[in-house]
């Protein structure tokens, strides 16, 4: 009984001493924690400021990029579609029997700009549905006259030399003109047309 009492007393005393030590240590930990908290707050505030500054930089950069993009777009348009803009001339054939193409020459406003000799292989490619870009030019806006001369062999291997004329209006933007050779079954002869692509 006495032993038990002494054991209990000793344990109580031991526990009490531990608590005392703990209570003595508590004030030191809370100071450090407070300081840490204050540091963290300061850092957070600093981060917020930095972030705000970066955000402002990004916004101003975005604006600059958009302005630059707009300027480039306008410049591109001026370069690609200037007053002296491009006109492209294409040749197509839809013939079987009435015309054997040898060459085509084109004049724009009285000046010869292209003279193309077609080989057998090239003429065959046209008959099979190919389209040949004969010439590209830069023309001022306004009216222009196109004269195309088609040379080849017609029915009965007769030499053919046929011209076609067209006046077209050059506006802003690219223009595409097609020189078309087709069979006219009713006339039993080839037909030569010039048309603009829309």
């Amino acid at each position: 009984m006495t032993k038990t009492f002494i054991t209990i007393m000793a344990s109580s005393l031991l526990a009490f001493s531990v608590v005392s030590v703990a209570q003595d240590a508590a004030p030191m930990d809370s100071d450090a924690a407070l300081a840490e908290a204050r540091d963290a707050e300061a850092q957070e505030a600093q981060s917020r400021d930095e972030f705000r500054a970066i955000d402002q930089d990004v916004q101003s950069l975005k604006k600059e990029v958009l302005d630059l993009n707009r300027d480039l777009f306008l410049l591109e348009e001026e370069l690609l579609f200037p007053a002296n803009s491009q006109v492209a001339f294409f040749v197509s054939m839809d013939v079987g029997e009435y015309f054997d193409l040898d060459s085509i020459s084109i004049k724009i406003d009285g000046k010869e700009v292209a003279n193309y000799l077609y080989t057998e292989r090239e003429a065959d490619a046209l008959i099979r549905g190919g389209v040949h870009r004969l010439h590209m030019a830069n023309l001022k806006t306004g009216e222009h006259e196109l004269v195309a001369v088609f040379i080849g062999h017609g029915p009965n291997i007769r030499e053919y030399r046929r011209g076609a004329t067209m006046t077209f209006d050059k506006g802003i933007g690219a223009k595409y003109v097609e020189l078309e050779i087709t069979d006219s079954i009713t006339a039993q002869q080839p037909e030569f047309n010039i048309k603009e692509w829309e």
């Binding site: 193309y116 000799l117 077609y118 080989t119 057998e120 292989r121 090239e122």
Partner: protein, 165 residues
């Protein structure tokens, strides 16, 4: 005396410069062209891609051309079936004179007519004959200015080496 020497030097340098002009084409893609041939059809250089092609610029008034052409015809007959093509480009104003000469010499290779001198300008041809040898990829490999007996041996070696490539 000094003036005479200066004139000789000037003439020599012009000649050298004109030779260099077409020599500079070696290693470059041969400029493409299409011309009407003696058989009436149009022939385009690029359609011969895959063959070794010899382009020979000549004129009826050119003596060495007359000497050279039969020898070129022999090369053509020998190697045509193994991927060799020869295009004779005549630059006379009147193609009928060229036709007469072809018949007289009995050549079989295709002769093209460049009366407008567009192709000869493209190849910077200033003196006759000029022989351009193009490989299977369409690249100019050799250019020969003029003709002297013995040149055909050089042509033979070059053609054979290109055919082997």
């Amino acid at each position: 005396m000094k003036l005479k020497k200066s004139i000789i030097a000037l003439v020599f340098s012009v000649f050298a410069a004109s030779s260099l002009a077409s020599s500079g084409m070696e290693g470059q893609l041969a400029p493409d062209f299409a011309l009407k041939s003696s058989t009436g059809e149009n022939l385009r250089l690029s359609e011969f891609r895959g063959d070794v092609v010899m382009i020979n610029f000549w004129a009826t008034w050119c003596g060495p051309c007359r000497q050279e052409m039969p020898l070129l015809d022999e090369l053509y007959s020998r190697y045509q079936r193994v991927g060799f093509s020869l295009l004779g480009v005549n630059i006379d104003d009147d193609s009928r004179r060229a036709m007469d000469m072809i018949e007289e010499l009995g050549v079989n290779f295709p002769v093209l007519f460049d009366a407008r001198k567009e192709v000869s300008k493209l190849y910077d041809v200033e003196a006759m004959p000029v022989t351009v040898i193009v490989d299977r990829t369409g690249t100019v490999r050799y250019i020969h200015h003029g003709y002297k007996p013995g040149y055909e041996d050089k042509y033979l070696d070059q053609i054979r080496s290109l055919l082997r490539e």
